[in-house]
């Protein structure tokens, strides 16, 4: 498809474990166009995280291919950012330093990185946490900082794996009130795995996973 940010073509992933072989993703095909807002729904263990990791290039499919036609060779962190299901702030770095990291990986200067990271935290209402260490944050705070870290480089595609899993309903919605306009402004696309129906409702498209099978409507 023309202009697609991401295309997955008959992608499967099998985990070979001592007891049994787990087919976490079976023959999934999909495309993500620019500015898409996709919710990835499905019960626990259905393969959402595995699929997102394949789509983000963090893991290699057992068969099939994932391509990012619009990005060229430069995928992460410039064009694609990932928000993880677990706590993934680097423990030795403060909140601000964690958020600066993707910019520094792209070679941004010290002051530039600092300024943009501050702005990102400000925008998501996390400014007060700037100097805290990850171990000093609540689970929900850490997840929001991780989201800020994904957004700071203003990538064109964000893959988020239950980014608000540890937030209550209300806070999660409030957080998305801050996040979504920013994504929209930038024209970025987002694929967001979630159990939260209301969060899912805020997306324009809903994909579902069941036993490793991806169902893309339409």
């Amino acid at each position: 498809m023309n202009g697609a940010l991401l295309t997955a073509d008959h992608v499967s992933k099998v985990f070979y474990t001592p007891g049994e072989d787990v087919s976490a993703v079976r023959d999934a095909s999909c495309t993500v166009p620019p500015a898409a807002r996709i919710a990835l729904l499905g019960p626990s263990g259905s393969g959402k995280s595995t699929l997102l990791q394949l789509l983000g290039g963090l893991d290699i499919p057992t068969s099939g291919t994932v391509t990012w036609p619009a990005f060229g060779p430069d995928v992460r962190p410039r064009n694609l950012a990932f928000v993880f299901q677990n706590q993934t702030l680097i423990p030795a770095l403060s909140v601000l330093e964690n958020v600066e990291l993707p910019l520094q990986l792209q070679g941004a200067s010290n002051s530039d990185a600092r300024e943009r990271a501050r702005a990102a935290l400000q925008r998501l209402g996390l400014r007060a946490l700037s100097d805290k260490l990850p171990e000093e944050l609540s689970g929900g705070q850490a997840q929001r900082v991780a989201f800020a870290r994904a957004l700071v480089g203003e990538p064109r595609l964000i893959l988020a794996d239950e980014p608000t899993g540890q937030l209550d309903h209300h806070t999660a919605n409030e957080f998305f009130d801050a996040v979504l306009p920013w994504i929209e402004e930038r024209g970025s696309a987002i694929v967001l795995a979630t159990h939260d129906r209301t969060v899912g409702e805020r997306m324009s498209e809903r994909w579902t996973m069941r036993f490793g099978v991806l169902e893309v409507p339409g």
Partner: protein, 879 residues
Amino acid sequence: MIAFVWLRGILSSLSGRLLGAIAGVALTIALLAALGAFTASSAASMTKQAIANVSVDWQLLVNHGADIAAVKKAVATATPFTAMQQVEYASVPGFELQSRGTTQTTGAGKVVGVGASYQYDYPREFRALVGKPAGVLLAQQTAANLHARVGDRVTIKRDALPPVQARIDGIVDFPDADAFFQAVGLPPGSAPQAPPDNILILPETLWHQFFDAQTAVRPDSMRTQLHIRISHDLPGDPLAAYKVVDGRAKNVEARIAGSGIIGDDLAAKLLGTQADALYARVLFLFLGVPGIVLAILLTIGVTTSGRTRRDREQALLRIRGASSSTLLALSSIEALVVAIGGSVFGAAAFLFLHPHPVRGDLQWLFAAIVAGVFLALGAVLVPALMQMRSRTVRTSRNAIGRATAPLWERLYPDVLLLGIAALTYWLTAASGYQVVLAPEGVPQSAVHYQAFLGPVLFWLGAALLSMRVYRLLLVHGRPVVVAASKPLAGALAPALASALSRQWSLMTRALVLVLLAFSFGTATAVFNATYNAQALVDAQLTNGADVTISAQGSASPMQVLRRLRAIPGVLAAEPLIHRFAYVGNDLQDLYAINPPTIWNATPMSDAFFGNADAKGSLAALAAHLDGVLVSEETVTNYQLQQGDRLQLRLQVLPSHRYVAIPFTFIGISREFPTAPHDSFLITNASYVARMTQNPGAEYVLINVAPGNIERVATEARKFVANLPGAHVTTILEAQLAIGSTMTSIDLRGLTALELTFAVIFIAAATGLMFALGLAERRRAFAILTAIGAKPSQLGAFLWTEALAIAVPGAVLGIALGIGIAQMLVRVLTGVFDPPPEHLVYPWNYLALLIVAAIVATAVAVAAARTMVLASVTTELRRL
């Protein structure tokens, strides 16, 4: 084995830790056993050598009127023995010889009577120079005084009796005259008696014929001794051997109650050796113990690595229902595996080093294994127990976090230790003390153990101070860290600096191990190199050159000089004239050289000369044909001024008379190759040869290309075979035979061992500790990769972190090592003779240490990179 450990460490942090601990315990066991065995065997070989060097074990002085047969019987019952010779001594007023129209007389002397088999039992007591080694033998010095030759009839003056005459059968040399003529029974500490100037040896029967009558009139001038060699089946430890020998001597004295007294040379020699053995122990402590400490620290470093991660794992196990006792049982199994594995590998390594262990070796191995098992239990179980307690009370301190200064820093132990170190060092080094005290007549030498305090406290204090400074740098010196890591880490430098500052506790721990490993390797290597250089100087001084040819009398090795020079491998061969000269009434050794060429044959150290300038002194000698360099003592005795004229009396060839020859005093000599340590003279060869009308040189000094000494010596022996009395000696023999305390200890085994271990320690400290420390931060690197770090950026991050430990560790460690080597040389200065002028740096070995560190770091970084890249998703799935 280390490589194997790494390989496994890459695969899994847990089993890497286990194998690392096994390797640490194995290293500790192997090092401890090897060092112990070294000390024991060096003591045994010193004892053996000492016993072999004593020619007469016991000289039993039999009192006048005692029943000699009864005394002999008492000895035989008290000790097994292999030789017992009766020796008679008579003091005489002098000797006289009339020959070739002149009459020569001497002062007082001694006439000795020995049995025909004496030479057989004690072949080294006197050595035939001219004529037969049996019959009537005249000592060389006496022969020179009397101008005597074989066949001449010498007149022996007797006390209160008419003189008698004997025909000379041979002229002999008395290498061990001091002992042979010692005054048995003098209280310890009294001044040693000089051997008599004039000596004549007679066969037993002839002696009795001449002197039995003198016994009647002047019994005080007569002595009877028994020269006894006891059985040498003695313990290997010198002190134990001393106790056996001394016990037997006391037993004999008790049995013969008042009939005689024993001069126990063997026991005295063993006592001296005990001091040497203590030096070996001192070296063991100085050089070995830090290595063992390091091995233990490395083991603990391994077992306590990855602690935060294991906290989490234990917490998970608890959640799944594991009880404290289950966890303890798991840890106990781990400790057991480490103990058994460490013992097996440690024993294997030791047996590899000692393929044919003797009983003492195995005893040490056993002791080392016991220590290793304790180390294994301690290093594995103690952290596990602490972990459990801290889990239950929730006080576990994170390895990564905000910078709060550790408690010890606020107590300033580093400053305290350095202060005490400086004080003790100053007290010991300034007071010119001896590390090993061997007081005269006291049966036990003592090691001045306080002397260790300086270097040891310095080592600890400097290590702690380095930790403090390093932590301060990481935590407060951010701009420095950023600037230093910029070349490698680029834009990531600020993030890296922050990360390093928050994991200072991991970093300082790793740093101190690298630093200690480097300081250990450097101190050992520098000390060893300095020591070897000094031993070489010592050997060179004793032997004169790589190969030395000496001859006496008319046979001068000059005759074969040209042929010697033609031997392949000979770089230079220089004659050295050695005569005796009277300075006033004082007979001194005189060495005559050709100043410009002597350098080619043997090194001329600045320390040889009073003005500490070898070049200048030799140039001055070359400029003054009649110049002479004399000892400091002579300068003070004779109130000499530069340029003073001196009359020295030398023997002139045709007449053999001592004739006064004028010399000019131009400087002071302190040491010279082949020269004794006391007074001697150095002059120009051409002048002495001309003035004495004797161009013969008594020595030829040969400088040999490395590795050719044995071969050149063999060739040279062929050439001088028909020069009477000629000897070829090599520096290698001198090195073995040198009796001076320190240099007699063969350090090679010890240092080869330690230098090997030092390389392993450094590889382990830099590589293994980094790889294991990574367990704490693997997740951080996985995250870094997941958010988009390229493999090259990850590599830069890892390299910077590894170098942030390795570079300061190596630099500080090498500096500390040099400091410690300096202290060691200083502290042991009393045992070097002469003391070294400066430290010798074994650059190749130091380079090897650095290469080992670089290779280990590179392997560890590569392994870490591969491991992180391969496990990003698994790592992120972990909670």
